[in-house]
Symmetry: C2
Subunit: 362 residues, 2 copies
């Protein structure tokens, strides 16, 4: 059995997917070619691409008026690509609830007026701001949130409803670290983007779902390869896409369907998160500072009250085959990322170790 | 034995590399993790990255005053990224010798004055323009060439010497489709970029080699993730890099070293190209229109004088396990791409088929 890998991303992949990828490495379906070796314009890769897109559309119930784009550069590149495509050089609003949305607000200022409508930094990014309290601009080009903050472990359990706030602007969500972990309410979303390296596949692939009416707003300085209209009109093949990564993501999509789809994953993810948070909350050694109503089901940061035990904790974890539990360098402590590919057994093994370590250091 | 795959890119990979990648898919070097699953900040991937960079630097004899960057988006993205980083919004010069340099000249016009110093379109992109005939600007920010045109099959056998032309500007080369096929004369180069999907590894990875004195010229509108200084200062990890693709490229670099390095590859590539061009030139059925002194050693476009035989030619090739020989849609005909990973035996098999088909249709 492989160790349990709690990396925040790139992150654990389903064993079944990796086995299949290894088996097909030199010969995909009798074609005589590995997927890495195929022209992106050929019929073999065309089939891989079409199936990946259709499976993802089905899994996430993406409406017909949204385009699915397979781009490159991850969330940090999208922090520029979104305002290049959507801001029209006007004002965009940002709700800052952690490291990622903060970076998004900062990068956008190169291309438009970047207005911070709310900021939870004062409480250490441990809560979300109630949407009713957001100070939105009069007519923002869009409103940006990070729907799951990977570093701070804060997640919107429900997407905000801009219309209910009297705002007609499209909502942009960075769903990098919880995409495909739960359903998406597309009626509230104009654009969603996410790096693949947490829940979808290899690093270097970015998923963008964009409502068609938002495709034609790009600034003239937007690079052609990053222009949503150009990417959409060329089925993500204006430039050569990350073909192998799309293939791996496609295998993940088929694995998700075999698991019962996104609703089944959500139920499993809620059970995993509940087990871990209850263990942390019931302990006198560990602490998670995030408010109950916005705790991430994917990324669980926690601290040892006695931080001098950190190294001993991590060493013991490694001995028990529990890997990559060290917290992000910007916040310290520990972090357990429990994405789709982390089975309940992995969280149970972590919980067992948390209890064991606590009993040894009570 | 696998078929011989003449795809222009993504393209054939060395069997040894694919075998090793398959074997390590679920567990890299006893780490308990596949490479796709590793944090890019961890020591395991740190080792993979450091070895890949060092091996590439050794193979290509990259001088110490050049940074090697592992970026994303391929050559078409670099068509914007280069002027965003180097043009200062002034004038950049382009030598247009085929489809790729033409696209580069066009994209740059978004960010600077794009001056075409020479254009060989009038002769169907079958020659290069003598550098002495180039109409360079007075003080261009840089001079761009595509040192191997993948579609048109035109290659600079020697890089132009801008200093000898009285021009102090840095030379930018797009070496996507012949990188690592021969040595690079870095004394003549300021920046080189190339998509990985021909000679280095999977699509979605871009190699950039940039002289250090060119790192600080970016326009304020350059996205952070695409800013050479930012990428260089973060060892290509400002945003999450395409980790698995870097790993595969690293395996290719080790394979290249085992083959005897770049000088050995160049000798082999020259022998492969000689065999193929001599067969085409000695035929009354096939024709290659590119001038002798600038024929690409990597991409060999050719035509059947009787184009009604095209489908029969391709069908017969597939029967003989010779794949992806159809020419680019923009120029038609055939194309054999014979990158590093194509063995001499593959070219010999193609030559045998060319002769057989010709004898049947004489």
């Amino acid at each position: 059995m492989r160790p349990y890998n709690f990396s925040a991303g790139p992150a654990v992949m389903p064993d079944d997917v990796l086995h299949q990828a290894a088996a097909e490495m030199l010969d995909w379906h009798g074609s005589g070619m590995g997927v890495m070796e195929m022209s992106h314009r050929g019929k073999e890769f065309g089939q891989i691409y079409a199936e990946a897109e259709a499976d993802l559309r089905e899994l996430l119930a993406v409406p017909a008026n949204f385009k699915l784009l397979f781009m490159q550069g991850g969330g940090l590149a999208e922090n520029a690509i979104v305002p290049l495509n959507l801001s029209r050089g006007q004002t965009a609003d940002f709700v800052v609830t952690g490291s990622w949305s903060q970076k998004s607000a900062q990068e956008a200022a190169k291309y438009c007026t970047s207005h911070v409508a709310a900021n939870t930094k004062a409480n250490g990014y441990t809560t979300l701001a109630n949407p009713a309290s957001w100070q939105l601009s009069t007519q923002p080009a869009y409103v940006h949130i990070c729907s799951n903050e990977t570093i701070n472990g804060v997640e919107y359990h429900e997407l905000p409803d801009l219309k209910a706030l009297g705002c007609d602007a499209p909502l942009v969500i960075d769903f990098s670290s919880h995409v495909a972990s739960r359903p998406v309410d597309w009626t509230r979303v104009g654009l969603a983007f996410g790096g693949a390296q947490k829940n979808l596949g290899p690093a270097g692939l970015t998923l963008v779902a964009v409502r068609e009416d938002l495709l034609d707003r790009a600034l003239p300085i937007c690079p052609s390869a990053l222009n949503y209209r150009t990417v959409a009109d060329n089925q993500s093949m204006y430039n050569t896409p990350a073909t192998y990564s799309i293939y791996i993501a496609g295998l993940v999509f088929k694995w998700l369907k075999a698991q019962g789809g996104i609703a089944a994953m959500e139920a499993r993810n809620m059970a995993k998160a509940k087990l871990l948070y209850e263990t942390l909350d019931g302990s006198s050694l560990y602490i998670n500072r995030v408010a109950q109503d916005c705790r991430s089901r994917m990324n669980v940061p926690f601290y040892l009250r006695d931080e001098s035990l950190n190294e001993a904790f991590l060493a013991g974890a490694r001995e028990r085959h529990l890997l990559q539990l060290k917290g992000h360098k910007s916040v310290g402590g520990m972090r357990a990322s429990i994405y789709n590919a982390m089975p309940l057994e992995g969280v149970q093994a972590l919980v067992n170790y948390l209890r064991e370590f606590e009993s040894q250091h009570a």
